[in-house]
Point group: C2
Chain length 211, copies 2
């Protein structure tokens, strides 16, 4: 499925494929990523392998220790809190300012998707989640604020795969999302911001239970 995307360079291709593995949890936190290994897996030389690792370091998904190598980033409970709090602050800041810019039609579409995905597979649920937050982010007129918010979310992504959710959890999360969408549709700004914040912190708490 990644095959369709044509990359400019091998480095980019290796980067995207490693990124995918990290996000999907196939590479676990703390795992060593040696350059030779990557060369072997993807059939490239060390140069693009190294560059791919540097890009993952930029995303904070990999940590490089000089002369010792690269490791999939590890997050303790405190850092998870910190990341989600930061995300919460940014998204709420955006929503407070961009509330009026959210398109009702996309919101309604999302609501339909959400109702369809209810009681369905987890993948669809994640897609709806991403769309909802992306809709919020896009409401900001400030591209840089958008970018750093996406950056924080990218950092959080792998965490979700390291945790399995109960169907109860999933249902609760879905209903939180529905509430947010409804508040947005009803033009209830303050409520929407509050719910969005609670939803994000809630996500943090569920992840921390596992750790």
């Amino acid at each position: 499925m990644d095959e369709k995307i044509k990359h400019f360079s091998l480095a980019e291709e290796v980067y995207h494929r490693l990124l995918d593995r990290i996000i999907k949890g196939k590479l676990k936190e703390g795992e060593k990523l040696s350059e030779e290994n990557i060369c072997g897996i993807f059939g490239v030389s060390r140069t693009p392998a190294r560059e791919a690792l540097m890009m993952l370091c930029r995303d904070k998904l990999v940590k490089r220790i000089p002369r010792r190598g690269c490791f999939v980033s590890k997050f303790d409970s405190e850092e998870i809190s910190s990341l989600f709090e930061c995300r919460g602050m940014l998204e709420c800041l955006i929503l407070e300012q961009g509330f009026e810019n959210i398109h009702r039609d996309e919101l309604l579409e999302l609501k339909t998707d959400l109702e369809k995905s209810k009681n369905k597979n987890r993948k669809q649920s994640l897609e709806v989640d991403e769309k909802l937050h992306e809709l919020v982010i896009e409401s900001s007129p400030n591209k840089h604020l958008q970018e750093i918010t996406r950056q924080i979310i990218r950092q959080i992504k792998p965490l979700r795969s390291w945790r399995t959710f109960s169907s109860d959890d999933l249902e609760k999360i879905d209903s939180e999302r529905l509430d947010i969408i409804n508040a947005l549709l009803a033009n209830e700004k303050k409520k929407a911001v509050r719910l969005l914040h609670e939803h994000i912190i809630q996500g943090s708490n569920q992840l921390k239970l596992k750790t």
Copy 2:
């Protein structure tokens, strides 16, 4: 002056020296940074030169166009506004939450520095500015929010060197800073936040005049 710092690798050393040149405006916006040139200047091979360029891309100070090379980032008037607005939002968000955490003693020290640097050289003025904003940033209990705020500021740094300020401008900026410090010392939170925001937007406007 950079010589004192011992770096782990050549790549890091080249990175820091290029960074310095960009921030000081010795490398102008849009300028081509070919790998061979960098090799020649710093006496290293292409590998560390390339890696240094990648690090500058991470900082958004350099833009890489595939198969065409790297160029010092260029900012149009709109992007400058956007960057400063983003910075303003982040610093104000931090100050609103971290107001109580700002140390009075460091603030008083800074005030002394500011009064000493008044009517002195521009370099000292810049140092006071950095300290003030760093003091605000450190007041946030959230390390990630701190980091992304510093990231935005780093992106803005070169802009200042591309503009020469009149002594009137400098005096005005200094007085703005003093007002902020006084508001912080007087525990006038709302006023401090408002002044901080105005100060940052003011900085943006002064830069845009040139562009």
